[in-house]
Symmetry: C2
């Protein structure tokens, strides 16, 4: 949560442009206010004032208020990856690995449930750069898909050869579904989302195992063909 350079761990990074400091200041201030007041209640003027810069300056670094959310995405993704590491180290079976990684994702998001819910709507807009399917989000998205690739690769599970290459993206899609449910989840502590994970993972596990059965091959093939058709 505290600032922590992601890539180069050298103290000063002279490679970056002058305004990098200002950029981070604005970003951190915005994140803090979002958490404190919620997204809609945080005005660009308030962010600028708290950060001690002019309104226009925030727009120099972030094209819009929505673009500040993308920072939140990227940050969450990094935290998710870190929180998933112990699970990937510890678990070997596919089911527990998947469940652990999904729970880790919700763990990371939980402190932000209040305000995350209000802006996830922007992510749902297809034309928005914030959509998890958009080109602008391809970085975090691919990182997330890779994470589910690790869930699979490190596991002892035996998967249908045709399904295997598609599975990481499908698992990511399932994770998006979990998040969609989580956003709407008003149960205290979002316990229902936890139940969803614990209930759905065994089903997915069983489904993946069944995909290898000779009798179900046609169905597996049919599903995969459909998915390939629908992807562009």
């Amino acid at each position: 949560m505290t600032e922590q350079p992601a890539q180069t761990t050298t103290a000063g990074d002279p490679a970056t442009a002058r305004g990098e400091q200002t950029r981070q200041l604005i970003r951190d201030t915005a994140m803090r206010l979002f958490r404190e007041r919620g997204y809609a209640q945080t005005t660009m003027r308030a962010i600028a004032q708290e950060a001690g810069v002019a309104v226009g300056n925030a727009y120099y670094y972030f094209g819009s208020k929505d673009h500040l959310i993308q920072e939140f995405y990227a940050q969450s993704q990094v935290e998710h990856r870190a929180a998933a590491q112990p699970v990937l180290d510890r678990e070997e079976a596919f089911g527990p690995r998947l469940a652990g990684v999904l729970h880790a994702g919700i763990d990371v998001l939980t402190p932000s449930h209040g305000f995350a819910a209000t802006f996830f709507k922007t992510a749902a807009e297809p034309t928005s750069p914030l959509s998890p399917f958009s080109a602008e989000s391809s970085g975090p998205r691919e990182a997330a898909i890779d994470l589910f690739g690790e869930v699979l690769a490190g596991s002892t599970a035996t998967v249908d050869a045709e399904l295997r290459p598609q599975l990481p993206e499908l698992l990511w899609l399932a994770y998006m579904g979990v998040i969609l449910y989580w956003v709407h989840d008003r149960s205290p502590g979002q316990t229902k989302t936890r139940q969803l994970i614990d209930g759905a993972v065994p089903l997915i596990d069983r489904l993946v195992a069944l995909s290898r059965l000779r009798v179900l091959r046609p169905v597996t093939r049919q599903v995969l063909d459909l998915i390939r058709t629908l992807r562009h």
Copy 2:
């Protein structure tokens, strides 16, 4: 598309309050401008001006710009129901009935794809009254679920006794998934969405049929239990 009283077909309806005429004028003007210019590009001032009323007057009838969308929902639902009728009359098998009704839904929405996509984001916000899961949307939602109930009831399909009561809502949920895909579908004429329907319906059909098999009973039960848990 042209104005057409839905319920009472008597000429004058004196039962309604004085401003009903104004309400419809504003509503129709808004729908027209939404289609012509898109949602974001249509300002409340423009709606008011085109309708020949003051801005505040629009807010007397519709709590917000978003609330005008709900009118669009309701209208679309009615049109969907009407478009589905021939299918329900014609088809007897479950698969064709379901496919026909899903296609009918997309048929109705297709002319609005351009602007519908831009406002479906509002529907994704959990706190919004526009969410298909919200209390305010319960009317159209239940009407839609009923429609899928008819798909099932009128069909020759034999369904697992435990699954049957849950199935209409599950089919509606699948329909929401189709719409979510449709919103993001940028293929010309949204042909991919048509492929999704044609590809997914046989799978659903087969899945429903399989649910009766003794071997799969535990899985069916497991899925239904999970769903019951997650519903509130």
